[in-house]
């Protein structure tokens, strides 16, 4: 007991009226209260205490003096009032207060667990909803894309030039919509942890070349040139090829997309850093404003600054890349100077290891 607690107790017990009331109550109900209290708190007693109190010998010799038939001597020795006065703060400090605190803690932990479960459930429902909606959207896009494709392929004499422009518009818009849905699906799949990682040995230089080949045509249209600075020490890694391609191609695609219309240079750099493979894609494009840097990897936060606003993108590419990189046990970061260009760098382990 601290000093202040002690003096407070003293004060309470010194009050004549309290003493009088306690005396009355305890004289009449002392034994009953004691036995009730003992029984009530029995579950929190350690075994030795339980064995000590709740055995016939103790009950007869120790508790019987408190009953009305107790002897005069034991009444003096075990005066119920004195005993209760001593017992009350003890019960309060060592049994009741710890019990209240334990209960409060238990309740808090329980509340936190329920809240966590609720959030997890909401997250699951949200992702399930996205997956279901995307399925429905794809189903109906099937006939929009399908029929407009059928019309596109009609001979020109069946459609006038205006009609054929309209059909082309429908077709390309529907395909754009499809790209958005695919990205949404990817993201929801990653976030529900449904992506399976298939580890295989992949050659970094080869994979880089394959991806550059894929984007060559698009890059040529914008006069974008590719440069490579590959670390010879970084050859084979053990990773999921599909995921690696998705991350790397997205960075390449962005680099080309945001290159200036007058052309630019996209540099791919690789470096072996301890047990990680570091891959960078640098462009000489429009760059990113400093205030937009934090938005880059966030869901549904499009960067709207005029120069960067391009119609052909969902804005989810980097979010997906970040999620994928982290799933592989790596990280991704961006550096940029507005108007000068950007560098996106990701690191992934040379050997993928499943998280325990």
């Amino acid at each position: 007991m601290t000093k202040s607690q002690r003096s407070f107790m003293q004060l309470v017990l010194d009050t004549a009226f309290v003493r009088f009331v306690l005396l009355i109550i305890l004289t009449i109900f002392g034994a009953e209260i004691l036995i009730m209290a003992l029984t009530y708190f029995r579950s929190s007693f350690p075994t030795w205490l339980d064995n000590l109190i709740f055995n016939p010998i103790f009950l007869v010799f120790f508790l019987s003096p408190f009953t009305d038939s107790g002897s005069e001597l034991s009444f003096v020795v075990f005066n119920p009032t004195l005993f209760a006065i001593f017992l009350l703060p003890v019960v309060y400090l060592f049994l009741f207060r710890p019990w209240v605190e334990r209960e409060a803690q238990r309740k808090k932990a329980e509340d936190m667990r329920i809240e966590k479960e609720r959030i997890e459930y909401a997250h699951k429902i949200k992702n399930q909803f996205i997956a279901n909606m995307s399925h429905e959207l794809r189903t109906h896009l099937n006939s929009i894309i399908g029929f407009s494709e059928l019309m596109k392929e009609k001979r020109t004499d069946e459609l006038n030039s205006k009609q054929s422009t309209y059909v082309n518009n429908i077709y390309s818009s529907a395909n754009m919509l499809l790209a958005i849905i695919s990205d949404l699906l990817d993201l929801s799949k990653i976030q529900t942890g449904k992506v399976e990682i298939v580890v295989e040995k992949i050659s970094v230089p080869e994979t880089i070349n394959e991806n550059i080949d894929l984007i060559q045509e698009k890059a040529a249209k914008k006069n974008v040139l590719f440069k490579k600075d590959l670390d010879p020490a970084l050859e084979q890694i053990e990773a999921d090829k599909q995921i690696f391609n998705q991350i790397f191609f997205n960075l390449l695609d962005n680099a080309v997309k945001f290159s200036k219309d007058t052309g630019g240079i996209v540099t791919v750099t690789t470096k072996k850093e301890d047990d990680m493979a570091k891959i960078s894609v640098r462009d000489t494009g429009v760059g990113i404003r400093e205030e937009d840097m934090t938005k880059l990897f966030s869901e549904f936060l499009h960067i709207e600054s005029g120069l960067n606003r391009k119609p052909d993108g969902t804005g989810l590419g980097l979010v997906i890349s970040k999620n994928l990189v982290e799933m592989c046990g790596g990280n991704i970061r961006a550096q940029s100077e507005f108007g000068e260009g950007s560098t996106f760098t990701f690191l992934i382990p040379l050997k993928f290891e499943k998280k325990a």
Partner: protein, 122 residues
Amino acid sequence: MTKILVVEDIPLNMEFLLEILKLQGFDVDGAKDGEEAIQKAEKGIYDLIIMDIALPGIDGFEAFKIIKSMPSYKIVPVIALTAYAMTGDRERILKAGFDAYASKPLDVPAFLKILEKYKGKV
């Protein structure tokens, strides 16, 4: 002539599929759900089945299993055509025993290439 059964619950998608298949010179028939597909498969003879997965009632997986258990359909190829197009869906569907997989929205040239492959066999 190669006879194809198309199982598809969305009428417009069915119309589109029947249209492109007819243009390719196939003899086509449609079923709007798993139950109808099973009935039609029992009665008629088809050389190829194109099956949607998400169907009301008996879904594509179940209908596939039932049709494949019929003696006359043991070697008939069944192509899954579905809007389940997330990573892993293809593997899941092929693992169920489907002979090929195509996703919606349909990439027509790629799909026709798949059909071409089976046209020779049937």
